[in-house]
Symmetry: C2
């Protein structure tokens, strides 16, 4: 670390910079209206200013590029389920945040969804991404049930899958195909659906 002061470029840093440049270039090209499937390595490399063969010095395949894009969708904020209040307003706000998050990354999101459908590796990565949310949801639900606030008849696993899988689909489809005009309304409906449909199922609101 301290011995190579004379080198202007730390190889690892430089490498990371190139990787980031490739990802940025990909997003830029996607912004031009091309779908990820239509996008060839040739075009991506050209956009960064690299030879096509040089691309393969940084990514072993197109699949690996997408896997990096999946990583770019991770947000540290969502990891903890602690301090998550179960009330309608808080849930609505969480959905607003989530929608805004994906809207900012909608091009990458669309590319990932596209690749996840036909590339098993990407599919597994995306599945793992969602699994975290399902598990967190199951935990929250069980806690609510233990506290007697959510009916014990609710199947926590199935309910969590319905909420997360369904919610992801609504958000991703909405964000990748429409403008932000109805973001708030969608957030409210998702939240109300979750709150009255699961957390306070059959309870007067």
């Amino acid at each position: 670390m301290s011995s190579n002061v004379r080198r202007p470029y730390d190889p690892a840093v430089r490498r990371a910079a190139v990787v980031a440049a490739v990802m940025a270039a990909t997003e830029r090209l996607l912004a031009g209206g091309v779908s990820f499937t239509e996008l060839g390595i040739k075009q991506i490399a050209a956009e960064v200013g690299l030879a096509r063969s040089t691309f393969y010095l940084y990514f072993s395949s197109k699949t690996e590029l997408v896997l990096r894009l999946v990583e770019a969708l991770h947000s540290p904020n969502w990891e903890s389920s602690e301090g998550t209040p179960v009330d309608l307003e808080a849930i609505t706000e969480a959905y607003r945040t989530g929608i805004a998050f994906f809207r900012e990354r909608k091009l990458v999101l669309a590319a990932v969804l596209e690749a996840a459908a036909y590339d098993p590796e990407v599919g597994a990565a995306w599945e793992g991404y969602r699994r975290k949310f399902v598990q967190r949801e199951v935990g929250l639900l069980r806690a609510e049930q233990a506290a007697g606030r959510t009916p014990a008849e609710v199947d926590a696993q199935a309910a969590a899958e319905v909420i997360i899988w369904g919610g992801f689909q609504v958000i991703t489809h909405h964000v990748t195909t429409r403008g932000p005009e109805r973001d708030d309304i969608i957030a409210q409906e998702l939240a109300a659906n979750q709150y009255y449909g699961v957390y306070r199922r059959g309870v007067r609101g």
Copy 2:
């Protein structure tokens, strides 16, 4: 290797028979564990007993084959929204039927979902398929609101999208990745979620 399809006199009938044979062969190959993307025209043609070039006498492209597969997912039963009672048991039963329907066709369903993600034409067809359900749901919701049984604050369009888009995702993902063991539980959760989350939102059950 000659065609194993009998030749009825009527050219149109014979043509339809070949088309059907190709679709059946595709499903047969998918049953072998190959994904639709991996499946080449060459293999499909060979499975039917046709030359690859002959395939193109019946389908202009792989896309057209998928579009026919989308059509194969249509069920005449679902078109009418008349006589649909809004009670928890009826909704649960409807979900059970839907899940069973897609489970029987899960290979075709998986192929369609795969292609819809990267082929714009297929994507549009699948989008149209779902749109019918959304519209039907909006109609039902508005009627319930007019009758004063569903809160007026519910945004019918957004709620319908949440229910249909989300429900489709849950059902398709469940059916294409898991066995039938939990079909009933999933149906119950979807139904309860819809009933208490939208139709009788905030009403004691």
